[in-house]
Amino acid sequence: MPETILELNELHTHFFTDNGEIPAVDGVSLSVNKGEVVGIVGESGCGKSVTSLSIMQLIPQPPGKIVSGEINFKGENLANSSNKRMKQIRGNEISMIFQEPMTSLDPLFTIGNQLREAIQLHNKMSKKEASDRALDMLEMVGIPRPKEVLSEYPHQLSGGMRQRVMIAMAMSCDPEILIADEPTTALDVTIQAQILDLMKKLNQEKDTAIMLITHDLGVVAEICDRVVVMYSGQVVEEGTTREILKDPKHPYSQGLIKSLPKIHEREQKLYSIPGTVPKPKMGVKGCRFAQRCPMAFERCFQEDPELYPLENNRRSRCFLYDDAKREVTENANADIRS
């Protein structure tokens, strides 16, 4: 049994706005094992960023608040942790990088200064020692002429280089887990591949677990061991990358995978799931996906589906996999195949 280092249990993070309460994260449970790369996928607005910021306790508050649930990190529930304890954890045991490398570094301080800051926050080191460490980190993430870059400002670097700096900064205290919120979305394709390679390399060499948030299944296929599919603030499916890509169970995952461009098949038109992601609302009854689901039946509009366990530690939030309704499942599967 692999060691679990991060486990979310029924996490609820809501925003209290003028237009009412928004359950952006609505009962998310998932886990990350030591040294594992877990992908979190889902369309825009499904709560991926809010989930990751909740783990770091960096939800803008107000309007946001973790309403209930547990964030267990190595046996400690971060949802109840003091601010002081979170300062020790952030950047040291759990690190995070963001989607926008262009704006994620302070424009007024040198790269060296910002790297040293991260290092010195968690290690008793002199400026000189921290500088040496910063230099090592830049070398590790493959920055050319690292010595000069230390004294340069963010605006002198390209987006890809800045994301490498962000990774260097996040890795500088050897975290247990790196949360990467769409780290390649803002970069062009070749740079994307390089950054993914770098993350894969760090994962293998340092055994750092990675929680990779993305809406790109191609990225998932590239480096993730396991995938969690989210929809409207909930986990709808979970399983190994191979199984989910080959044999998605949840109708939403099936739609996502169907909409992937395929190399060998010359399809004229790309498939896309009809309709749009509904805004999360309080007190919605029934399956969140029901309005867009091609397989929806009566029950879907009346009850909330649970995450039903399947073989090989897979889970799927769909009535088709409710054991009590097994025969429905069989029929539906027959439908899909036909």
């Binding site: 040291n92 007024l108 301080f109």
Partner: protein, 333 residues
Amino acid sequence: MFAYTMRRLLMLIPVLIGMTLITFSIVHLIPGNPAQVILGETATAEAMQNLEESMGLNEPYAVQYFIYVQDLLQGDLGTSLRSKAEIAKEIWPYIAATFELTFFAMLFAIFIGVNAGIISAWKQNSWFDFLAMLFALIGVSMPVFWLALMEQWIFAQELSWFPATGRQDNRDPMEPITYFFVIDSILHMDFTRVITTLKHLVLPSIALGTIPMAIIARMTRSSMLEVMKSDYIRTVKAKGSGQFLVIYKHALKNAFIPVLTVIGLQTGVLLGGAILTETIFSWPGIGSYVYQAINYRDYPVIQSGILVVAFIFVIINLVVDLMYKFIDPRISY
């Protein structure tokens, strides 16, 4: 930084030419003949002609302007019609008085304004934020002369904490050296005088500094709130830093750029337009100097006063620009 400074200095040349063109034309825009203005209504035609010749008023404008600029470059601002003294010498004490007052007024405004703005942003929507912004609103809308009179009434007349007017105790004047009285009293090693001089500065500095303080506080607050939402602040927090580092290192430096603009503008306004405050506090500054000159139609003094104020404005602008460059490495024009 050196190249940037040089470029900014070169860019001053056209501005200075424009300035001198304007002050030069003031004389020729005054209704009537300058010689007539100087000599009065009853002057004879002959006297006027002599004066015009000795002042070069018969020369073409281009030649007159050339001579004017040549004189300026040698530090010659002309002669006061009223006191017959050289303006360049006469004007300095007034400039020093204004500088000293502006310095302390801005010190007060920046220190209180920036800190109030930071705390208001940090504790957004707290009672401190609410009170500070209420005071700032009152501060910007309060007439300066009213504030000045209230200060004099409460702190000078009723409580006798501070003197109501002047730069020093007139029964015991000091031998001026630089005409910056705080510096002079330090140079004289006379520390009771340092205290009295500072006491004279308190009321006018507060009166003059209140509006800039309120503007700076509001600007700092809104700028800080904007910056606190930015991605790089989130990054600093994600590194595990505490509030203090977030606010005083990263947020403040970024938020300071627009605040600096306001500080520069307000300093310029105080240096050039404090006539009302100077009058109420009998402060012998550049404002009162020019104001008197206007009453006497002492146009060389008016001309020089405007030129000096404009020049100070330009210099402040330059300093602010250099400070931008110092704070923000992205600036590169």
